[in-house]
Amino acid sequence: MELWYTHLLREKLDQDSLLVQGNRASALGALDAGVRFFAGYPITPSSEIMETMARELPKVGGVFLQMEDEIASICACIGGSLTGETSMTATSGPGFSLMQEAIGYAIMAEAPLVIVNVMRVGPSTGRPTAPSQGDVMQARWGTHGDHPSIVLAASNVVDMYRLTMAAVRFAQRFRTPVTLLADEVVGHMRESFSPEKAGRYRLSSGDFDFTENYSRPDLVREVHPPHQLGAFRHPHVTGLVHDETGFPTNDPQKSAEFLRELHDKVAHHRDELCLYDVKNEGRGRVCIVAYGSCARSARAAMDLAQHEGLPVEVLHLYTLFPLPVEILQRVARRVEFMLIPELNLGQYAREVRKMAEQWTTVISMGKIDGTLITPRELVDRVSDLVGKYENV
């Protein structure tokens, strides 16, 4: 697929690269991935995603809706999704909280949908213009009931573009809502990137090309055939537990099977869904496991530490859920410490600890003052860990 949309923009701008704000890059990624339906509600620090969609979608004949609140926004997106449109909304913490019930509906009704949550410091109104990663566990478990989640995390502007594309592809392929987490700094910073290069990229977890529409839900055994309005005669869609006909069932065996399949379609495809990059593989006694803004600090810290004679490994996670169990355990087996910097009080560190503590010591490094964790802070912590170890 030609990235015709950003290409169009570039004709008016720089020939080789775009200097783009993170939130805008997310909107461009969505447009290049074919999203033609957006409904949202203004909220700092995500509003530029919505503003870009308001400006660009009408040019390509898409639907843009500013709804009365975030609940209405995601419900309108589900409505669009039920007609076959891959829909998207964008929000921040308070709006994300309001959307939770409907996210569960989209999981249950298998409605493809992308939600971008540009995180701010919470709880409540918190600090709307300060970065945070406080919504990680809400992204995993925010809606009620046992459910699978696909959660991605963007660390910079190019991620905002390519991971929005990835989120669209995953949503289409697995017929489920996908959440992309960013934070205020990632959303508001400006960087240059080349859309052509960004769409196809190489990671330790594999090579990806999200510029191609590889969505083939029919190839995923656990995905149920869509009940698309207008596509066949009389579909019925419900948030009740239902069987393959779409109609509700209270049959214990059928309902357990259905719910199990919702989980399995994500759990059985972890190898495809879990995007990560390993740097300095096997070179250090400490591995910094990081995502979002913190991963960017971790990569800089790796270089800084190297310079100071302290080799560290970095595991950069682009997919937080489904939990990348295999790579976490592989790294845990070879390092003495896993250091997990987060702009929260250790939400993801707890997940990693469950996977890794039988092999390694998992150290949480949380920060909630609304500033980023600097590379220096990370190197000092690594040095501290290694020093302690040597003194034992």
Binding site: I78, G79, E101, Y105, H236
Partner: protein, 277 residues
């Protein structure tokens, strides 16, 4: 149910869940007769229900049907109508689903004047959850959450939706099935947001704590309290107290419909005559 209407029903999903004497089936019947008159096409008609007794009607109808989440049927419907302007979009909701939890979406759907028909089954009670007070319970009505009588006032939903911008507003009753059928038929035909309050009865949860007792008496009460719009014009507000003004209450065919306005905006932008600001 006559066999002519069976073609619009998932007969394999019957019998329905409603209690005997419930008005939901009567309102649904009026809709089915209107659907037959309108010759609604199954492929291009979407019916969206929220949560509650009334909203379950969607599950028995052989159209594209969505059983949405509580209070949000109109938000789902807005997305569907915008993505598929060729669809006839109809929302079934209740007084709890539409006027309480979904009240915000109701007024905004009215304000947009989007071409959706909303049929609100008003039985003045939360039936499915066991008889709690709703915003349409009248003062002094007894319910499990107002055991000493309702202290709050209720809405006049027709005045509310008219003020919010709906361009077709009507009230009918389960008792007057033919009139309700006509109001629904005209509402679906109307281009713009159509709101039809269908006054209904819940003998199980409302009727067991409030007079009159029994479905028949409740239906007769609907009949006795109904006054036509024309009759109401000659009555004082005192005389109209506790009356149900039925019929077509408001209609405006000149107001712009949202979907069409949106399409015109798209055309302007795509022709390059509007570069935005």
């Amino acid at each position: 149910m006559t066999s002519a209407l069976d073609r619009f029903l998932h007969t394999d999903r019957l019998p329905h869940i409603w209690c005997s004497g419930c008005g939901a089936g009567m309102v649904t019947g009026a809709f089915l007769r209107a659907a037959a008159k309108l010759d609604l096409q199954k492929e291009t008609t979407a019916i969206i229900g929220g949560i509650g007794c009334s909203s379950r009607a969607a599950g028995y109808l052989d159209f594209g049907t969505v059983h949405a989440i509580h209070g949000r049927a109109l938000a789902f419907a807005t997305g569907i109508k915008m993505a598929r302007p060729d669809f006839t979009v109809i929302v079934f909701t209740g007084d709890g689903d539409g006027a309480a939890i979904g009240g915000n979406h109701l007024i905004h759907a009215c304000r947009r004047n989007i071409d959706i028909t909303c049929i609100l089954f008003n039985n003045s009670i939360y039936g499915m959850t066991g008889g709690q007070a709703s915003p349409m319970s009248q003062e002094d009505d007894v319910s499990v959450t107002a055991p000493y009588g309702q202290a709050e006032r209720s809405f006049d939903l027709c005045r509310l939706t008219e003020a919010a911008g709906a361009t077709y507003v009507a009230r009918g009753t389960a008792y007057a099935g033919r009139e309700l059928e006509r109001l629904i038929r005209d509402g679906v035909r109307h281009k713009g947001f159509s709101f039809i309050e269908a006054v209904s009865q819940c003998p199980t949860e409302y009727g067991k704590r409030n007079p009159p007792k029994g479905a028949i008496a409740m239906l007769e009460d609907q009949r006795d309290r109904s006054v036509s719009v024309k009759e109401a014009m000659g009555m004082t507000s005192g005389e109209l107290e506790s009356k149900l003004i039925t019929g077509l209450i408001y209609k405006d065919e000149s107001a712009p419909e949202f979907q069409e306005s949106y399409q015109r905006m798209l055309e302007r932008v795509q022709q390059g005559s509007d570069g935005g600001n």
